[in-house]
Symmetry: C2
Subunit: 97 residues, 2 copies
């Protein structure tokens, strides 16, 4: 693996390495949701959610569609869910909880 790949990989995995982002990804794994819905679900400010959604957009973890004044976010592709599921299984097996 070359250096650029390593850097890209670390940026990629970093997305999963924050509780707020994981909660967002988890919330989006079922439905697409707008910023307000996510904020309410996570009990956090719109601003905090919006900032994290921007981070997730930068890494192409989420896609979005603007309808009127609300923006609906959803997971960019099934890889995200697969990786989440894999990590989840790993945690379960380990009994790290």
């Amino acid at each position: 693996m070359n250096v650029d790949t390593i850097y890209a990989l670390s940026e990629f995995y970093k997305m999963f390495g924050d509780v707020t982002r994981l909660k967002i990804l988890n919330a989006l794994s079922d439905n697409s949701l707008c910023v307000s819905e996510i904020a309410e679900q996570l009990q956090m400010t719109h601003s905090a959610i919006s900032h994290q959604l921007q981070v997730l957009r930068t890494q192409n973890f989420v896609k979005y569609e603007k309808i009127g004044k609300t923006v609906y976010y959803s997971l960019a592709d099934e890889h995200i869910q697969i990786i989440l599921k894999y990590g989840y299984e790993h945690i379960q097996e380990r009994g790290s909880i």
Copy 2:
């Protein structure tokens, strides 16, 4: 997913979210290596490597065996490699590089 799981998952993925740790994991994917070998391979101080190995130990990413005064580290299990490989493929497909 409950809150504890989310926290454990974020801690788990955090391990992959740092360039130094990724390099260490990558280096260990072939062989087991001692601290000095890793340090030399990554061109970093023993101390920095040792600190990161401790972090990786905490999350059970690596196992180690002490022979004489040298400590040989290796990946704890094949999950680590699988997740690394999966992320790598994701990056490649995306053409994020």
